[in-house]
């Protein structure tokens, strides 16, 4: 390459940098957010929230691509195959939710411990480390996609295991980042003060991080491999994540509504007992058909059937607290999303999960769109909602604790975002449920799950129209997401009334 070419490249890069700098400044002038309103820990938290929202966008975008391929199989064929789109769809989901949770914890860590975050700098380094790693992983997913059947592929491209596809090098990176995060949490509570919430949080994080390690090994024996794979997936979403959300919810209700700490913590312990008491052995509902012994049919069926109980308790908790405090609070969108969480968690995980958790039913619904129906409502209802609620809490504080009420001028935005997102996901859930029923009958019960049976079910008009409805409601979800982002960036702008301060009572 000659030097003039090189100069041109440098020139272009400079011009590009300049342009993006101007863009950033224009954006900053437009959003009018003042970071002086945030503590150091909260500034770190909003970084996590920002990346979470970007990855949420990626999740929905790639979900739309995958859903389109169900209807037009040649769409992006051998460019971005279904497997690639779906992998990014669900991997982005896991990662954005983890980003959101870490952000939530950093958000309230200083408030709850009564002191400054001990390893703030370390926390920032960990954030950039994780974010660069995620970027590289996604680029490799998109550009390299697959490798030869060798260990190196699993180390550097992807591990080919649903939900935890990240290559091994990234696994190790994630563990390091989690350790830094964990250190920050424990060291900060130790320096400040411990509380019931702090104790539950700490023990839960140990379990959450420890479980990830269970999914980091390659095994030839697929029964063993799936056995440990479920330790990660199930014991995350039906035990440790659920308790983490309980912690976040406990703190939020205390702040948002002023519920008394003693009541909140008693509730939290009850939820932990019920959730772990049913969820840990409920793991057995994934051990019906993977080669594991028959006693799992009984254990898994029994304990997982109890799992809805804590979820009912959580609904009672949220609604009761809101009711006794007459819904008096200064952040209506956040409270609305918290109520959505309580119900979404109960219906998505509790009701939809219960419907297919007994082995006699699961024999026919296993591995059909039934699971996808439940997966969508559960992940959205339990985990997307609580994160969105927290985004609203964060943005309010960032704006200087201004009033965010349902009667404000632009309140239609958050109301419509709430409606479109929940309506969109619910619509997809129903469409997938119909598809799942049809598969259970035709593919599983009548045709005996052969390949021909599979395609008979896929080609059936009721399945095909369900896929169209799913894409349609995906579009609704997408619209709701765009509106949500717009609302988050603008809500409270120019509002001068302060939110009423809520005190414990």
């Amino acid at each position: 390459m000659n030097t003039s070419g090189l100069n041109k490249v440098i020139e272009n890069t400079n011009a590009l940098c300049e342009k993006s700098r101007i863009c950033r400044n224009t954006f900053k002038a437009w959003v009018q957010l003042d970071s002086n309103n945030l503590s150091d820990g909260q500034q770190l938290a909003v970084k996590y929230f920002t990346v979470a929202v970007i990855l949420f966008f990626a999740q929905i975008l790639f979900g739309m691509l995958a859903a389109t391929q169900f209807i037009y199989p040649s769409f992006l064929y051998e460019i971005l195959d279904f497997s690639v789109n779906r992998m990014i769809h669900i991997n982005a989901m896991i990662i954005w939710m983890l980003y959101g949770f870490i952000g939530c914890v950093y958000w309230f860590l200083e408030d709850e411990s009564g002191t400054e975050i001990v390893g703030l700098k370390l926390g920032n380094i960990a954030f950039w480390l994780l974010t660069s790693a995620v970027t590289v992983v996604v680029l490799v997913y998109l550009l390299v996609q697959i490798g030869p059947g060798k260990d190196s592929s699993l180390w550097f491209i992807n591990e080919g295991r649903e939900y935890i596809e990240a290559p091994r090098w990234a696994d190790i990176g994630i563990v390091v980042v989690m350790l830094i995060f964990f250190y920050n949490v424990v060291a900060t509570f130790s320096k400040g003060k411990w509380s019931g919430i702090a104790g539950v949080l700490t023990l839960d994080l140990v379990a959450l991080a420890g479980l990830y390690v269970a999914g980091m090994f390659y095994m030839t024996n697929i029964t063993h491999e799936q056995y440990w794979w479920w330790w990660v997936i199930h014991l995350w979403v039906e035990a440790t994540w659920e308790v983490l959300v309980g912690v976040i919810m406990a703190w939020s209700l205390m702040k948002l509504l002023g519920v008394r700490r003693k009541i909140i913590q008693t509730w939290l312990y009850i939820e932990v007992a019920l959730m772990f008491g049913s969820g840990i052995l409920g793991l057995g509902h994934h051990y019906f058909w993977i080669g594991t012994p028959e006693y799992w049919l009984t254990i898994g069926g029994f304990f997982s059937a109890l799992e809805p109980i804590p979820l009912v308790a959580m609904v009672v908790h949220a609604v009761y607290d809101s009711g006794t405090h007459a819904f008096k609070n200064g952040n209506h969108p956040a409270l609305a999303w918290i109520i959505a969480q309580a119900f979404g968690n109960f219906f998505g995980a509790g009701v939809w999960g219960f419907m297919h958790t007994l082995p006699q039913i699961n024999m026919f619904t296993h591995g059909t769109q039934w699971s996808a129906s439940h997966g969508h409502l559960a992940f959205f209802g339990a985990y997307a909602t609580i994160n969105i609620a927290f985004f609203y809490l964060a943005i309010q504080h960032w704006r200087g604790d201004v009033w965010m009420g349902g009667g404000s001028q632009n309140a239609w935005r958050w109301k419509w975002a709430l409606g479109l997102l929940n309506g969109g996901v619910l619509g997809m859930t129903i469409a997938l449920l119909i598809a799942g029923y049809e598969q259970s009958f035709i593919e599983r019960a009548i045709e005996g799950s052969t390949w021909a049976g599979y395609f008979t079910a896929q080609n059936h008009p009721s399945f095909q129209s369900a896929m169209i409805w799913r894409l349609f409601f995906g579009g609704i979800t997408f619209a709701g997401f765009i509106l949500l982002v717009w609302d988050l960036l603008t809500i409270g702008k120019g509002e001068t009334r302060k939110a009423l301060m809520i005190v414990e009572n």
């Binding site: 199989p73 279904f82 497997s83 697959i146 003693k262 594991t292 296993h366 799950s449 599979y454």
Partner: protein, 198 residues
């Protein structure tokens, strides 16, 4: 408020939370040790990798009231008898390839994965391979060039070319054959194999 009863007190539920969690986890650990032993390769439920040298079928068992794999006489794969170690290596190559190619994000394996393509649990036994004489050959060809050997059953959905080599294809087939011999407690129900008479 006057006296808080024990069952409504914070400390009672704190203790409950700890004991219930510890107890459940302990039971899980014990069951895990038992399950892993009972499902190691070479156990009753999960046969040794050298099962790829045998004929495999899947039939309803009148005693246990469920469909069960049946392991028969010799039926070599690719016309060769594999030693234990060779069999393990070939299945291992196949398993690794299924991960490196991300099969699980279109297919289900043991019913887990994605729902864009058929379940692979009993793929080895599927009638889709027409007859046992041409099955192995069809499978190799299909895996190496799925686009031109596609049978989409009228769905227009085609598996993409994943640049699978011949050796990898043979590994995958060995892996699928071995997987079809796992006792999956009767899932899938009522599956008619390639061996069954019409």
């Amino acid at each position: 408020m006057n006296e808080i009863p024990l069952w409504a007190s914070e400390s009672f539920w704190k203790k409950m939370a700890i004991w219930v969690t510890a107890g459940s986890f302990l039971i899980l650990v014990v069951l895990t040790m038992d399950s892993l032993t009972k499902t190691s390769a070479g156990s009753q439920r999960v046969p040794a990798y050298s099962v790829i040298n045998k004929k495999i079928d899947y039939q309803y068992n009148n005693v246990s009231h469920k469909f069960m794999p049946i392991i028969g006489e010799n039926e070599f794969l690719f016309g060769k008898e594999f030693t234990d170690e060779e069999a393990r290596q070939l299945v291992d190559l196949g398993k690794k390839t299924t991960q490196a190619k991300n099969c699980m994000n279109c297919h289900t394996l043991l019913g887990n994965g994605a729902y864009y393509a058929p379940d692979l649990t009993k793929a080895w036994l599927d009638k889709g391979w027409i007859s046992k004489e041409i099955r192995e050959d069809m499978m190799v060809k299909f895996l190496m060039d799925p686009e031109n050997n596609a049978r989409t059953f009228g769905s227009n959905r085609k598996m993409p070319n994943l640049k699978i080599t011949e050796q990898e294809a043979k590994g995958i087939i060995a892996f699928l054959k071995w997987m079809s011999s796992i006792d999956t407690n009767g899932f899938p129900y009522n599956f008619k194999t390639i061996n069954a008479e019409e």
